[in-house]
Each structure stands twice: as structure tokens, then as C-alpha cells.
Subunit: 351 residues, 4 copies
Amino acid sequence: MDDRIEVAILGATGSVGQRFVQLLAGHPWFRVAELVGSERSAGKPYLEACDWRISSAPPQEVRSLTVKHYEEPLRSTIVFSALPGGLAGPIEESLAAEGKRVFTNARDHRMDPDVPLMIPEVNAEHAAAIERQRHERGWRNGFIVANPNCSTIHLVLALKPILDSFGIQQGIVTTLQASSGAGYPGVPSLDLIDNVIPYIGGEEEKIEQESRKILGRWVDGRFEEAPIVLSAHCNRVPVRDGHMETVSLKLGQTAAPADIARVLADFRARPQELELPTAPRRPVVVLDQPDRPQPVLDRDAEDGMASVVGRIRTCPVFDVRFVVLGHNTIRGAAGASVLNAELLLREGWLD
Amino acid sequence: MDDRIEVAILGATGSVGQRFVQLLAGHPWFRVAELVGSERSAGKPYLEACDWRISSAPPQEVRSLTVKHYEEPLRSTIVFSALPGGLAGPIEESLAAEGKRVFTNARDHRMDPDVPLMIPEVNAEHAAAIERQRHERGWRNGFIVANPNCSTIHLVLALKPILDSFGIQQGIVTTLQASSGAGYPGVPSLDLIDNVIPYIGGEEEKIEQESRKILGRWVDGRFEEAPIVLSAHCNRVPVRDGHMETVSLKLGQTAAPADIARVLADFRARPQELELPTAPRRPVVVLDQPDRPQPVLDRDAEDGMASVVGRIRTCPVFDVRFVVLGHNTIRGAAGASVLNAELLLREGWLD
Amino acid sequence: MDDRIEVAILGATGSVGQRFVQLLAGHPWFRVAELVGSERSAGKPYLEACDWRISSAPPQEVRSLTVKHYEEPLRSTIVFSALPGGLAGPIEESLAAEGKRVFTNARDHRMDPDVPLMIPEVNAEHAAAIERQRHERGWRNGFIVANPNCSTIHLVLALKPILDSFGIQQGIVTTLQASSGAGYPGVPSLDLIDNVIPYIGGEEEKIEQESRKILGRWVDGRFEEAPIVLSAHCNRVPVRDGHMETVSLKLGQTAAPADIARVLADFRARPQELELPTAPRRPVVVLDQPDRPQPVLDRDAEDGMASVVGRIRTCPVFDVRFVVLGHNTIRGAAGASVLNAELLLREGWLD
Amino acid sequence: MDDRIEVAILGATGSVGQRFVQLLAGHPWFRVAELVGSERSAGKPYLEACDWRISSAPPQEVRSLTVKHYEEPLRSTIVFSALPGGLAGPIEESLAAEGKRVFTNARDHRMDPDVPLMIPEVNAEHAAAIERQRHERGWRNGFIVANPNCSTIHLVLALKPILDSFGIQQGIVTTLQASSGAGYPGVPSLDLIDNVIPYIGGEEEKIEQESRKILGRWVDGRFEEAPIVLSAHCNRVPVRDGHMETVSLKLGQTAAPADIARVLADFRARPQELELPTAPRRPVVVLDQPDRPQPVLDRDAEDGMASVVGRIRTCPVFDVRFVVLGHNTIRGAAGASVLNAELLLREGWLD
């Protein structure tokens, strides 16, 4: 008998939706009970509705699930949302109003003043904003918890231990982002054969703004942004999965590269203490080879749930510089939401 | 009758050597008279010695030239060097000692205190160092003039007009560099299929150091470095040709993006005044589409001799940020040397 | 004063349309007078309407041309059509009915029993079908002449000289086709990073059927197909431009690889005799290096108008096997139509 | 206590060697006890000696093993060889003479008249040649068993069930082979960015010849080749792993595509009966989507040990045509050898 908690996945046939399905199939606490899609998919078995693009075929246990339409009622109280930005906002709100606990990867509510933008290793205490959310919006049990943008998550995981130990004043970041970040069909192949694109709409603003909220504090019932100024340059490169970022930081106090490496490698937080099922053993993996991390070799470190840092060295302009890499659709999207749900379950928010 | 000046190309069968051949075939002032290679190539006709990789076949006029060995004497007094770093140094010196005017793309002599590291649009006046070179080294007519590293050239072409108008204090640069920068065979395909490499040996130091020399002044018989601090992060991406760089700059005085765009687009210098054959009409091309420049579309602007700048915008950390792209084996290597030779010819240094 | 003949280009903003613009800008006989597009483009200057993707920017002379809508009347009597299949058919017919001479790259009318499917080097005499076309359809001056599918053209250019000298009974062909064959946005990048796709809808049938028509004869007022049986396997590979095809042929009589190489290299036909402006000097270029042709090196041979053949060797199953490569949007599309127009102009069909 | 049989891996630091390490780490019957490499690696711990390129780091259990030199004596009696062709031959022979059971991926002994070229599902009975090998070469316990070339294995796995049910007379095959087939550094990136290479030295001959041996019989103490004539065209494409092949076959008797699909999907043989640890549940996986198999989606089917067939359809020239894909370094190399060893262990040849 399967006594796992039933969960629903919104946007289940898209790129991030497929990752949710992959990560939740066989999950020890959650069972994929409902897959929700658009008109094009609804009413069909998942195997047929979905152009599965992660491996040869979707997990056995979800193949014959009939895809539901967004307007059909859901019985699951935990809902993961892989809906596209814009569409996500109102659907997620009305689900929360109905009492659903919505864990969303969509951008729509990320910067709302009462929505936790959560990375469990970084700001687990932001869950407190759920109280205000419920109070102000009149939601009894439901809530919305968002995870950050894919490139923001990996940047912030690398910034957090440095911030805590040495302070961070400014940072300049350049991303080399994978094609899967744009979904499917996403970026045309003619844009990425013998080419890179120095632009991803809205991405630079997300990195610059979301980071300040995540690294900030929840005090007196409101978010106080961290006083860190970031500048991001975002690029698309011909890589399937794995966002890479070069980072130069001005710290609050000086720190040698070896000190930075140590605080990153030693970083552990709530998910590790609680041994959450999806939590990486090491949230930040530090490599010391001169030419690492690389997407194809390192994106799957800790099953895609780690941020991998390398090339930690002194910056002639600021204090320190390094490279961070992470899987953009696992820890950078679906895995981030799953970890949020695991944390809130263990901390009693889903009772 | 062909009364063009005979020139020799060292390392003529390699990647950069092939670009020299391509650019000098049909040149109005210079005629490719001698092609020089290693033991493996010497004695064979160029068509056979060279695995030509720019197009279907090398230019007609060089196909049957017999490749000479490095140790054979050369009759040309103008010598272009595409020799690999390390090998280049002593060969170039002994040629200069014999009276050859050596225009080199190799790194060996770039930072010598008496060798001009020249970009004609930027520091034509550094040619004066030739005097010291001849005097100190006891060379009568010969000299060595170097062009900078491929990514440095395009960066500096974009920095120069900004420096002159607004001053530059600091800059943080991340490069996305093409495979051809590593020559052939160069980077293994397994490193660049579904991957990028966050490391290019020695490249970051070159950008940081060469820029200061180039943008500095020749005063009182010595180079005075420009007081600009740069930090570079270098990456290899799956692109054939065209280095792209994201740049954030702290200026000496404030300037709106539109002002930056104007000084870049209006930039003209000696090569344009003299209408040198290889000089781009516009050394810096400014694009205003949000997703440009792109390697595959823009690397051939002005026949590969321009630096193409786009995405000029305010930097939240410094003052301004933008993207610069340029062809790494044309303006970034062979074309740079050819333009140096054209300038020095017109300015009387080759008499 | 410009006394070139005015021409119109339908579908001028798409992939093939851009190639038409590129090839016809500066054409000695034709002048691009009208650019025609969809609602989205109509009314705008071409520079603005078109996301030009061949180089940094469209040719100077067309940038400010205002794009017309399909329903606006055209003054040019020569019309090049880069319309997508399905949309093309009726528009081309009504233009022909108005008296326009339509040279189309679309598939819609290729297999019509009264439409020449023309490659000037192969079946120039099929132009005679225009008479029947005009007679049966009641068109006075107008007509439709189609060029074949991109992979068919290069295959047939290689087959024709072999057929004429040795006969061909059967052939098995596998294509490795470039991304640009699917237009823009076309194939998603996630389908072509670290991947190939063994399927191109409708392509295998086109190769198998069009070849028989092209290589057949126009006798007694109708097309008689060539009795050649072909089997095609079509694949999409991560290449920008240039379709490559492996070919095994059962001949009518035995022929050594050297004989095949000779008839291919010696092949010349009407366009070469007439020295048509777009005609390649050599319609088939034969290479003897063991690893050629390659897309990136050889697709631009003869300015993209040649088919490049290599690896001619004995086939253990049939008689001979080889590789053929050609530029799919130049000789394989826009250039094919332009050459058709040049031929028909010189042969008096446009009077 | 670990009572698994100790095995050695020759060429352990190379591409195929790494796959051996990956597949044998955690193997239920074998334990990696000895890793053997060249002078460059010998004496170092594997972690340091090896530029591991399959994932972030080699399996824990082999990291600290000290790499041995080829000339050091080995204690393991089972030896897997990932040595490069040419080097492999004499080393493998002298090991067999010493009593080692050598399972080799190298080409050197594949076509020897007394060496089984084995695919357990296809020609398990060829093991009988070991008797002749021992007898003629004077080896007491040692032997050499080879696995075929990577593209041959997947082709033959697809041919075998068809041959058994319907007979095969002729076949024409075109491969699209992955970069990893050439090892590391292998194919230069400049050869595979925006390019494919229509040539792989020696590969076509291997496919044509090895297939006849594998599909033939061992009768009266000698190999009798199968009377099948194949013609192969081999191409390198920008794919990391996974060789794809288009195949057209002339059968012994007619068969509908559905019949072919059935015999392929139903194919089971000795490794499946014996439930060998590395044996795929289904040696041939049949897909019915029109655009499959694809390398990135299907190469890992059955953990990389299956050949995946799709697009089974009638061939206008022969009888049937289809596409087959398989992982070239798992089932196509290291996994093939491991499965051979498992089979021979279970069948008593290793006693």
C-alpha cells in the first residue's frame, strides 16, 4: 500500500514539468497523483500527451495517468507549478485560495512582498511570510512558495556562505546559460550552432533583484533586502543543461581564496541537518582543477542538486572571483521546488 | 608586372598562418613571396603542405609556392610571424638582427620594454619604441612589432574611445572565446559538444597586462602603463570564430549609454585617415538590437576588422556595461599584423 | 541609370527569402524592386521588417524598400517565390494568371504534370512544358517554373553526368541535412545539441519522386519519368548550411571510380555555355582528399552554386558509392530559382 | 568481505578504459583490482592519473588505486583491454600466454581465425574457438576474446533476429557516429562545430568484414563467414555518445515492417536467459515514434546496453529500411567486453 502524499504537477508536459515528474517519480514522501496540462494535452494519457525529452520514456508509474485540464478540480493539496510566467499567476492564486499549498517555479509571485522566495539552505526562515500571506489574502490553509530563477539559485547558493563569513558589498556576474532554460522548443538551433546569444530577456533583472530578496531578512513581518549590489550579463550558449556563471565579488572584509573555498566546502544548512530526501549532501561542491566546473562533467554533481564552484582566485578589481555551475532544471527549477516542499513538510507547514 | 613588396609568412600552414595567407593574397601593397614552415611542411608545395581549413582551397596564387624551412634564408624584408609562442621568440629576434621587419602575432615579445604592442587605431605613436629597440639591441634596419592577444585587441578597441572621452578606472571582463583561438587541432570536440570550458591558460593575464601597455603612453623613451585595473574571466565556447566579451566599466566621469555609443560609433584614427587597405571604415561598429552582437552574424563586420559593440547600458555596480565581439583570427591576429605593417609602411618605418 | 529588369520576391523576410535578396542584390540583369511579406511585415522598411540572419545587415540597396502585402498588386513581371509550402500554391497560380513569370522554391507545384521542375544543367528542355501550362490553364504570358527540393538538387546534379555516361538503375541515399533547411526558427536547439534527428517530414518522398521527374524526359507534351528507383534516409544534423549525402548506385554498365570522377569533373551544360551570371563554372566539383567534402569547408564552392563530390569508390553491394555536398539555401533553393530565371531569360521565355 | 573476482583493466585512463572502470565499479561478480596504464600514469593514484571525463569524478572505490605499468606483472586472471589498436596486439598475446583471460575491445585480434569476435546474443557458440586458440598457440588457460567495433555491434544486434527469421542477402549502411568513438582528445572541435566529417579511417572495412564473421558459424573448427554483402558509409557527427545508422536490407524472403518490428522486439538470447548482470532485458528496443531513435534520448536505453531501432519501413530499392542507434562506449565497447566475460564465466570458460 502506497501511503505517500498525493501531489499534483501543473504544466506537467513542459520542460520543467517533465523534471518535476522525473524527480517525484519514486519520491519517498510524495506520489504523483495528478498531472495537469493545457487543452492540447488534457484527456490523454501522459505517455501520449507528453513529448518526453529527458530520456527514452517517462517513468513507468506516470505513463498511463490521464492529464487533467487546468480548470478541473484537484484532489491533491500539494501542487507543484511548472506553468509559464504570466499564465501561472492567477491560476496559482486561485489554487491557494482553495487551500492548496503551491510550490511554484514561475516568476509571477516571486517578488510579491508576502511570498517566500525560498532556497532551503539560504533562507528557510522566510517561510514565516506564509502567515502574512494567509492573513492578508484571506487564505486559510493554502499558500504560495516560490523558488528563484535558475541562474539566481546557483549564484545565491555560492554567495550565502561567503556573505555569512566575510560580507558581500558588490558583485559582477556573467552567465553562460544552457538551452533548456528556455524550454522546448525554446531557442532555435540556428541561434546556437556556431553561435552564442548575449541576451536573455528579463534574466539580468531577475538575478539582480531576486538575490537581494533571498539574501535579505524577514523582520517585523516584511522582507528587508540585503544591501548587495549586483550587475549581471546573461548569455545563452550551446549547452543542453547547466548554467555557468563567472563571479567577481567585493567583500565586506578580506579573505584569501583558500578561506572562500573552505566556507563553501563546509557549508551545510537545514536541508542537510534534516536529511531531506532531495537535499544534496554538499550544497556547494568545490573543485580545485584549473578548468572546472564544466557543464557536461559537473552539472549532475549530487544528482543535480549542488552548485559547483571552481577557479576561486583573487580578483584584481574586487576581492575574489570564481566560477559557479549548476543544473538549471534540477536544482535550478523542479528540484528547488521539491526541496521547498520537503522542508515545509518537515517543519510542519503542510499539516 | 607585379611591383608589390615581397613578404614572408612564418608558420604559414597553421591556423593564423592561413589567415595571413588569405589576407595577403591579393593585397595591393604586399605580395606573398615566401611561406615558411616546420620540417613536416618544408620542401612541399603549399597546397600539399597545408591542411587548408578556411575554405575549399587556398588562394590560387600561393598553391604552388614551395614551403621553406625556418632555417633557410629569406629574401623578403617584411616578415609576418604566426609562429607558436615559445618557438617564436628567438627566431624573430634573429630575423630582426638580420634586418627583417618582423610583424608578429606571437606572445613572446609583446611585453618587452622596447617592443611596440600595437593597434594602429590606439597607439600608433608606440612605433617610436622601434628606435630604442634598434639602439639597444644593435639592430640596424630590423625590428619587431607585436600585435596583442586576440581578446585583448577587441577589448582595447572598445576601451580606447571611452578612455579618451570619459576616463576608465576599472573594468571586469568575461570572455566567450571561439575554438579557432586555440588553433588546429586545438580544443577536442568532446570538450565543446554540450559544454563550455571556464579556463584558457594564460589568457586572463594577457588581457589584464597587455591592455595597460597598449593604452599607456610612450614617454621619455619608455612605456608608461595606463592606470587601469582589469579583471578577466576567460571561457571557451563552441563557436568557430569570434570572441565575445561582456564588459563592466568604472569610468573617470559619468557618461550615459548614449554618450558611450556615440564616441564608439564616431571613433576614427590614423588607419582611417590614411585609408590603409586593411583598415575598417569603422573600427568600432555599434549595434542597437537587444540581442547583438552575435558571433555568426557579426564577426565578419568590416571584413572581420571591426570590433562590434552592443547592449550598451548602465551598470548597477560600475558606470557602464556592454558586449564587444570581434573576429579573433582576422582583426584579432593576422589582420592586426597586416594593419601594423600597412601603418608603418605609410609612416616611413619600412624605408 | 539602372536598366535592370525589376523583380519581386515573395516571402522576402524568411530564410530562403533572405537568400533571394542576397543573391539578387547587385545582380547584373535583375533589380530587386518589390519585397513581399505577410501582414506582420507589410508596410515596414525591409531593414525593420526582417530579422536578417545571413550577415550583419541586409544589402544597402534593399534596406529602405517598403515590404508589400501579398494582396497588393505587383508591377514586376518576374516573381521569385520563397513562400512556405501550402501557402505558395494558390498565390503563385493567381500571379501566373495575371501574367507573372513565377520562379518558385515552394513544393506545391513541383510535381504538377505541366510545371517544369528545373535544374538548368540537367533538364533545360523541360521548359517546353510552359507551353502546355499556358494552354491548359489559359495563361497568356505568365507561368510557373519550380526548382526541386534542396537535397534533391545536389543529388541530381551528381547523378546526371553518371546517368548520361553509364546509366543508373537504383540508388540508396542517406542525407545529413543542415538546420537552415527547416527555416527559422525551425529546428529547436535542444534537438541539435549533442543530437541528430533521423527524420525530416516529407523529405524522403521528395527525393525519391522529384529525381525521377527531373531526370526524365519531356516527350509528346508530357513528362516521362526516368526509370530509376531511389531510396532515401533523411537526417537532420547540427550544421548551419550544407546538405551532405552518401550515395550508393547500381549503374547500367560498369564504371571505375576514376571514370565516375572524370564525367563528374568534366560536366558542363547550358548554363556554363551561356555563361549565366549565377552559373557555377563547374557545376560539380570533385575532391580527392579522403575526408572531403565537408560542410564548413566546401559548401561555398563556386559561391555555393556547385555540388561537391568526394570519396568516389567501388560499392561492394552496388557499383559505385560517393558523398555529395551542396549549399542548401543557395544552389539548393534561392540560387536554383535565380539560375532558372537567367536561363529562361536568355532562351527567350521572358519576352 | 568482498569475494568478487579480481579483474584488471588495461588502458584504464583512456576513454574506453574509463567506461570499463565505470561499469565494473560495483559489479556483482567482478572487482576492479588492477588498473594499468602507460608511463605517464603508472605509479600515480587513479584519481590523479586519469582525466576522468564521464562525470564529476571516478567511482570512490577506484580513486586511490595505484596505476600499474604495462610491464608490471598482474595478479588478476581476468583482464579487460581498452588498449589502442596496434599497441594492444602483442601485449594481449603475452598476457594470454601467461594464462590471463583477455577480453579486448581492441581491433588487433578481431579477425584472427581462432579468436571469437563475440556478441553474446548473437554468436555465443563462437566461444568454441578458444579451444583451437589454446591448442594452436600453446596457451594453457589463457585466451583472447574480442568484441566487435562499436558501430558493428549495434548493426549486428539488429541484423541477427532479421537474419534468423527472414534471411539477409545485402545491406547498405550509413553511420552517423559520435565523437567519443575516436577517444580523447580525438576529433578536434573545429572539425565538429557547424560540420560533419564523411570519413572514419578503417571503419567501413570493419563493419563490412566483422559482420560477416560474427553472423557466420563456427563449424569443423573454423569460422565460416555469413554470405551477406554489406556496404558502409561512415560519418562523424557532433554528438558525444551514440552511433546512429541508417540501414537498407535485401532479405532472403519478404517481410512486412510489422514482422521485422516483431522479431526485433521479441529477440532474446543467452544473456537474457542467464540473466547476466550487464545483459539488457531487451537487447533490441523498438520505437514507433516517427523521429526516433535519437542519440540524446535513446542511447541510454537499458543502461546503454540495448540497440534501439526505429523507422522500420519498406525500402523502395531493397526490402526493408530502418534506423538503429546504440551507445558506442557502453554496449559498443566496454559493456560488450564485460558481457562477454559474464557469459564465459557462467558457461564455465573461466574455471
